[in-house]
Every structure is written in structure tokens, then in C-alpha cells.
């Protein structure tokens, strides 16, 4: 990652234009060519420096549901439970965390009922209690990472 990559990351975390040739517009603002911008974005996606480039949808505003859920998984069952939980397509993210509550996953579904149903299915398959922690209120979202 060089200075130009940093410039691209720092200036492109939002406000990508909705126009006929948006990459050209951005490239001109950054003082590089359109081809260079496109090839650098491709390289950063290939190396996973960027996880995605495009619109970030808010599933809740689109009528869907979202919830953060936790499970206290016994250490000796961690791998098995991971496999069960990850197999559900409703599980969008799953993280292992350094705590007694060691598995934290996010469910994203098209209706609130599916959140409950999915967690019931996960409880049935794992025999473990799921702590469903949907947000009650949101104070802030979005951090601008400085590259």
C-alpha cells in the first residue's frame, strides 16, 4: 500500500458519485487517471485491503431485521458449534471473542420472525442458550478508518 492507495482509501469511504462515469470524476479529484484508479481498486480488493467497493445497504431501513446474538460455547465444543451456526445463511457475521460469552454472531433476515426462528433452530441444533440482543436504540454508526 503506497501513498496513492492511502489517498484512495481515505477519500473514498463514502460519497462515490452516482453519475455516468463516476470513476473518472473521482480520479480527476485525486489527480490520477481513471485507469489507474480502477486498477488500484481491483488490486486492493484482490489483496483484501478492501473488503468491498459499492453501496452499503441498511437492511433495517429496507424492511429487514438484524440482531446481535451471543452464545457461551464450552471450549471443547467450539469447532462443532461454529460449524452449526455458520451453516445458517441468516448468519451474516460470526466472531470468536475472548470472554465467557465467546461466540457473537449477527443475524440478517427479511423479517423479525425469522430472527426468532433462526435462533430457536440454533438452540435446538446446539443445545445451548442463545442470548438475542437486538439493538434498542442506535446512537451512532460508521467510523472512518484512516489508512
Amino acid at each position: 500500500m503506497d501513498e496513492t492507495d492511502r489517498l484512495i482509501i481515505n477519500s473514498l469511504q463514502g460519497n462515490f458519485p452516482i453519475s455516468d462515469q463516476p470513476y473518472l470524476e473521482v480520479a480527476q479529484q485525486l489527480g490520477i487517471s481513471e485507469d489507474e484508479l480502477l486498477s488500484r481498486l481491483q488490486t486492493m480488493l484482490d489483496s483484501r485491503t478492501l473488503t468491498r467497493f459499492g453501496p452499503m445497504y441498511d437492511i433495517q431501513k429496507l424492511g429487514g431485521s438484524f440482531s446481535l446474538c451471543a452464545i457461551r460455547v464450552p471450549a471443547e465444543r467450539f469447532e462443532e458449534v461454529t460449524e452449526i451456526v455458520n451453516a445458517f445463511p441468516e448468519v451474516a457475521h460470526n466472531y470468536e471473542r475472548d470472554h465467557e460469552f465467546n461466540m457473537w454472531y449477527v443475524l440478517a433476515t427479511e423479517s423479525p420472525e425469522q430472527i426468532i426462528q433462526t435462533n430457536q433452530a440454533i438452540e435446538a441444533r446446539t443445545g445451548l442458550k442463545v442470548y438475542n440482543m437486538p439493538k434498542i436504540q442506535e446512537f451512532f454508526v460508521g467510523l472512518h478508518f484512516q489508512a
Binding site: P55, Y57, L62, H93, Y131, F140, G142, L143, F145
Partner: protein, 159 residues
Amino acid sequence: MDELDRKIITATQAGLPLVKKPYTAIAEQLGIDSETVKQRLQNMLDKGQIRRIGAVPNHYKLGYKANAMSVWNVPDDEIKELGDQLSALPFVSHCYERPRFLPEWPYNLFTMLHGKSREEVADKVQQVVKLLGEYCVGYELLYSKQILKKTGLRLKAKD
């Protein structure tokens, strides 16, 4: 969200095409005109259904290797005020009120803290402790050990 919005979402949720005219490419793929694609996207952006359009960096690759979910037990009556104050800190992201599960889970305020080292995160934690003052009944840090799955949100395409 109607059927056309859904088609546009499913065509773009994994990313925009890296071609000179990305919206035209999407339009061609869907068999509609590019003006419609742009209008629909602008409309979803205006309504907040799209949070933003741009690059999503992998914060691990940018050197943010210490990522903690910090969880705080604060009085329910004060949570709005405290949540707003926390959100004003430049290093705070994703600040939410969530339900407690007593007695094993007393925490009701969640926020992610990111740093290049655990020392840097610890310093941020102290800033939060100071800000919450007497309202901080307890807190814990849950560092991420590994990503077990990260596919992001995916609407299923219909038909």
C-alpha cells in the same frame, strides 16, 4: 422496496463493477436503462436505505489489529444522554443500547473500539471511563480472537 429495487440491490450488494460506466453495466445486466438505476440508487441513498457508497476497508489490513467490543453497564435513565456523548468521541463506532440478561449479562451499552494495539485501545477505554464518570457501574472488553464468518448481508435473489 419493490421488485426493481430488489433486483438492483442483489446486483450491487457484493460491489459495483470496476468498469468505466458501472451503472450502465448494471442496467444492461438487468435489462433496464441506466437513468433508472441511478435514480433508484439516489432515492435509496436519500432515504438512508443505502448508508453510503464507497470503499469498505479491511481494518485489520490497515493495521487496526486490536478490535474490542466494549460493553458498559449504565443506568437506563441516563443511557440516551451517555450514548450521545460517547458517539461524539472520534474513535467510537457502532454505539447501541441492547437488552441486559440478568444476572449473567448486566451490560446495556455497546460500542466498538479499534486501535493499532491493545495499549491504544486501553487508552480509549480510559477516556470512556472518564466520560461516563459515576454512571459507569461496570464494563468489560471483548477482544475479537478470530472471524468465524463474514459474508455481509445478502438478500436472496427472487426467481
